[in-house]
């Protein structure tokens, strides 16, 4: 690993600790929902981070289809995998927040909830294709799946702008009003999650490069002496 990695790891740990303090203690208590609203500081930044990672996955997939370079292929895989982790956080924390506030764990038919679940399933399918397909065309097939999958991201984001749903309206942009102190804590948590995502992507990237080198070496070793 490169020299910047430990620095990023330390900075991320410090930022995550500070963001946790800000979310649980420093942020003002919301008047209607009370303390349970603090789930917002993990739920929303996780969703935004997942969107950023799926955007990276989309760009890398397009670049891979044009250039067919290994780096774009690995970056696409890594961003999708870490994106699924953050999307899982959104899918899990959403119902935990919904239960005390709406009285239900899940609102069937709600467009924001449904499109988010579909988005998660699309990227799970993407990772399944990458893991299970033995075809030499796997990176190309995965890149095409990723491009179609990315179409769901704007649908998830803008669904609450155009449809009336159980899910609340956007708090930043779209006419929502958020206390400036809450917005500040939200942005600190997003910065912390972006750093964590970067750290996880970096680790996973290095791991994938090493794994591919090992596979190449094993393939070479299994070949007969004369054909190497």
């Amino acid at each position: 690993m490169k020299r910047g990695f430990p620095l990023l790891a330390i900075a991320t740990a410090l930022l995550l600790s500070f963001a946790l303090y800000e979310a649980l203690i420093a942020a003002p208590t919301e008047q209607t929902m009370g303390d349970v609203q603090r789930i917002f500081y993990y739920h929303v930044p996780s969703a935004w981070t997942a969107f950023v990672l799926f955007l990276v996955n989309f760009v890398c997939s397009v670049v891979y289809l044009i250039r067919r370079d290994t780096k774009s292929d690995i970056l696409a895989l890594v961003s999708a995998e870490v994106g699924v982790v953050f999307c899982t956080v959104v899918i899990v924390t959403g119902p935990i927040w919904a239960r005390p506030v709406w009285g239900i764990w899940w609102a069937p038919g709600d467009i924001r909830l449904t499109t988010t679940l579909v988005l998660w399933l699309i990227y799970i399918s993407y990772l399944m294709v990458r893991r299970l397909s033995t075809s030499g065309k796997t990176p190309v097939i995965a890149a095409v799946v990723a491009i179609f999958g990315a179409l769901d991201v704007p649908l998830v984001y803008f669904s609450i702008w155009f449809f009336r749903t159980q899910h609340p309206s956007p708090v930043i942009g779209g006419g929502g009003s958020l206390d400036p102190r809450m917005a500040h804590v939200l942005l600190i948590n997003w910065a912390a999650f972006l750093c964590l995502a970067w750290l996880l992507c970096w680790t996973r990237y290095e791991l994938e490069v090493a794994q591919r080198k090992v596979e190449e070496a094993q393939a070479l070793e299994s070949m007969p002496e004369g054909s190497r």
Binding site: V92, T93, P100, L200, L207
Partner: protein, 41 residues
């Protein structure tokens, strides 16, 4: 259930998910390292 329990549950769930992913990465890392060592021998 107290609303604070939901708050703690959400925060703990978030860190369990990240921790699980980190554990998967570490397991993968140790496997790749073992394979590298066996190739060097």
């Amino acid at each position: 259930m107290n609303s604070m329990h939901y708050l703690y549950a959400a925060y703990i769930a978030t860190w369990v998910i990240h921790g699980t992913y980190l554990a998967i990465l570490l397991r993968k890392y140790s496997r790749v390292r073992k394979e590298m060592e066996s190739l060097r021998k």
